[in-house]
Structure formats: structure tokens, C-alpha cells
Symmetry: C2
Subunit: 322 residues, 2 copies
Amino acid sequence: MENIAKLIGDDLQRLEESIDKLLTTRVSFIREVVHHIIKSGGKRIRPILVILSAKMSGCADYRHIPYAAIVEFIHTATLLHDDVVDNAKTRRGSPTANTLWGNEPSVLVGDFLFSKSFDLMVSDQNSAVLAVMSRVTTALAEGEIMELLKTSDVETTEDDYYEIIANKTAVLLSAACEVGAILGGVDQDKRKALNRFGYHFGMAFQLTDDVLDYVSKGTTLGKDAGSDLKEGKITLPLIHALKSATPEERTVVTDSINKPRMTQKDYRKILNMIKRRGGIEYTVQASKNHAEQAMSFLNAFPPSPYRDAMTGLAQYVTKRET
Amino acid sequence: MENIAKLIGDDLQRLEESIDKLLTTRVSFIREVVHHIIKSGGKRIRPILVILSAKMSGCADYRHIPYAAIVEFIHTATLLHDDVVDNAKTRRGSPTANTLWGNEPSVLVGDFLFSKSFDLMVSDQNSAVLAVMSRVTTALAEGEIMELLKTSDVETTEDDYYEIIANKTAVLLSAACEVGAILGGVDQDKRKALNRFGYHFGMAFQLTDDVLDYVSKGTTLGKDAGSDLKEGKITLPLIHALKSATPEERTVVTDSINKPRMTQKDYRKILNMIKRRGGIEYTVQASKNHAEQAMSFLNAFPPSPYRDAMTGLAQYVTKRET
């Protein structure tokens, strides 16, 4: 990540300025809420993908910067709404907006960010970008709803899981890359390649996220380990473990998940079962496979420092600890 | 309203078909939630404005129908989110989506409707319509947030109130009319006139809504009378009454509003004070003034059954009981 900061430092600086500049509103409280979440140390993965993709695609000016900011706005809107849906208390180690101000502003400021993003894109009149982004925000909502419907459902299959994470996560990272390709003006093949890179990168990203939720230290991730399971989110480590679980092990999982509040002891039991049944390694491997697939699509582009940075990102994504 | 049903019956039929047809999603639960709220007997005021404006502007085909549906989708999205923000239990006499399924689906299905609306508009590639609609959804969110920030604030001024209702309500009705004008292909003056008609119509509409919340029978409105006040919404009847209220009357209002739950006795006291101080008549008159202003903008158009229907709507809006 430090190399990337060096390679596109100027763009990243402009990104932060653009985030501040584009966030015009007559309601200063909106800026306060957005500022709280958007300046809380997010990794800017999505804007970085826009920037690297645009530069790798030959974008020589800074037309991609506002779009990098917009992609981060849309991501931020989903975070605000997710935290309401998940009733999350902390994110990145800080209290969530819903904890500080209640659910209402989180819902409405999320709405503002969605609308503002479209408003900004419509003003720029790039219909190809608009088409990509409007399709994607619809898929994001569908993915979140699919996930909600599968809450605490121990019958969730690997296919269900992949459909959920494709829609709730991978499509936005895929769109970030595709938008960069469009702004850079590359041909359809290269555009498609960047779309696929972003998709597989996004899958690898979410798979790693779901591993980290089980194995990371609370302080590293900025939230408690096991949050997903405690919220009833059935992710691949558990889905895989359940495939070979004994009826007794399965009962422990079902009973714990159906309790109004899972105890730490229940969580430990399930975590040990997941580890015993290879759920962590399986998911780590799945993440690595997607990262490999992602990298293979970069061959559509000639070598460049930007391509190297994209490769580096795809390698980093499976190894990250936060 | 019966005359309008006769005049544009064919369009209204197509509108309902379009609502069903455009609501494509891979998640059938989304259709269920949207269906619950969108088929619950809404008056279709916004789609009717799109249709009448388009026809008055010379639209001879049915290109306005999908847009009429989209405007209703956006309105429905705001209702879903409003009911979460207001913690509303019933709407139009039925349980709200958040009562039936919880806050989470209401937030996410609202997001889906917003995104889907943009997705549909982007596919149609009418950049003038897109510009109007993306500006408006941003204003809607701002209006809702302004209202939230003024919750239980007895210092709310008439100016504050007008700014809130302009953004949370009038701009969408204004946009509905302007979209009709754009699709009908009229000149800038006529387009502007329809924008202004919709704006003042929207102001009259919301002013009447805020009167009805105080004076209608619960069964007519589909929710309890006094809901606004009980939710801490300070609307014009109270704002006006407070201008001439005695310190004792003001204290009653402040104390009641600051209680965790306002009693029916408190509510009666405040309602009587509002009536005594002329808050109801004042707001009714303000609504009539806006309706008059709305009608004056129709003079930009030659006489037609559609223009008569628009005039009729503006007359109806101040007299309606639901």
C-alpha cells in the first residue's frame, strides 16, 4: 500500500480535496455526519481502483478524481445504511454514526449521498459511466437484501453466499475498475478485463473480510471478532465447516444462532468447530483463487507501474490483516 | 378526482401495469415489500401530475408512463425511509413495512427503489429528465434532514418550515410536472411554468397535509390525528399559534413536547390553543394562496381538458379530507 501511496500520491491528495469540495449541501449537519465516517481511516480501496484503472487505461488528466470520490460516497452511503441494518456500534474503532446520532440521520444522510452521487454523475453527462453505476447501486441493494433474508439461516449454501457477496461487494469494486477503463477510453476487451479484475478482486476482498471477522484481533479490525456470526451472518468459513459437521456440532450452531444473544462461550465453540473442519483455510484458499483470477485479467494491459500496483493490490488483499 | 380518472383512465391503467412491469428484481421479497406499500391505496398524485403535464404539453404517445411510475417509485422509497425515521406504525390505515418486516428491509428496499429508478432513467437516456430528477432526490434528502434537525424545536420559524416543506415535498411534485413538460417537448417558458405550478401545488398539498394532521378523523387519514406533534414535528398551525401565545401557553407546548410520550390530554390542550390562536385558518389560507399561485401558472397553456384537470387538482388539494 505504501508503494501505491507513492505512485499516485498526487491523485490521492486530489481525491481528498475532491471529497470535501463535492460535498456541497445547504445542511451543514450532513457534512458533519459524512465527514465523521468518510474521514475515519477507510482504506480508499474503491477510489484507488478507479485511479489505477484510469491511469492504466491511459487517462492523462484528472477527470477520474471526481468519480473516485463519487464511488467512495456510494460506498459510504452503504456503510451508513449497513450500520443501521446491523445495529453496529463501532466501525474502524470509532462509534458508528447511528451510535452518535441515531438511526434517522444515518438513513437520511445515506440517502443524501446516493442522490448527490447521481446528481454529480448526471451533471458530468458520461452516459456509459452512469449506466455502470446505476446498475451497480441496484445490485448493491439486492445483495444487502439477499443477505438479510439469509440471516441466521444455517441452510445457506455456498452458492447463496457467493451470490450475496458478488452483489453486496464485488459489483462495486468491479464498477470502480470499469469506470476507470471508460474514462481512460480503452476498447471493449480491456474494459471487460478491468470489470472482471474488479469483480474477482472484490470477491477475494470480501472472502478475506469474512475470514478476518473470525481470526483477527478486535483492536486490529476496529470491531469485535465474531461480529458477523453474532449478527447471524452465515459466511463461508461456517458454511464450509457445516458441510462435514456432525449432527451434534450442527445443533450447537443452530441453538447458538437462535439465541437472542450469542454467548462468548457459544462463539468459541463454533469458532473451534470451524477451525477443526477447515473452514478458515478453505475460505483463505477461495480468496487466493479469486485474487489469482483477478490478476490474470491484467494481462490484457501492457506492463506499467500502474499494472504492477494493481497486481500488488490483488496480492495484498488476501494477506491484509485489517 | 373522478373526472381525472375518466380523462386519463387509459394512462392510469397503463401506469399500474408499468409499476408491475418495471419492478424487476432477482429478489422476490423486494416485490412483496414494494407491492405492500405501493398498492395500498395511494392517491397517485405525483404520477397524475406527470401524466397531465405531459398531455397538456402535447405528449401524444405513452412515453411518460414509465416516468410516472418512476416518480411513484421515488416517492415510495421516501415513504419507506420516512416510516423508519418516524417509527410510524400505520400508513393509509395499514401496518407500515417497518411494522411488518422491521426497519432493515424498509431501509434496503427503499435503497433498491431509488437505485432502480435511476437505473431505469439512465437506460432511457433523457438527460434533461435525469438532471431534474437527480437534483430533486438530493433536495428530498436535505429536506428530510432539515426536518429531523428541527424536531421538537419550538423556536422553528415560518421560514424554517417553508424551507423544509419546499425540499421534502414541493420539489418532487414540481419535478413531476417538469418531467411531463420535458417529455411533451414544450419551450422553456412553459417548462418553467409547469415547474412553478408543481412547486406551489406541492406547497399547498403539504400545508393541507399539516392541517389535516390536526383536524381530520383518524379513520379518514389512515393514521392517528396529531401524529406530527407527537413525533415532535412543528408545523405551521403551531408555529403560527406560538407567535401570539402567552408565556403560559408556550410553556405547556414546550413541556408537552419534551415529554418522552405526549399524553392525549397535552395534545388536546395544544390543539385548543392552536385553534384559539387561529393556527388552523392561517395554514388553510396559506394553502389556498399557494393553490391560487399554482393555478396562475397554467395560463401559460391554452385551454384544454388537461389544463382544466390540473386546475381541478389545485382546487381539490386545499379541500381534500384524506
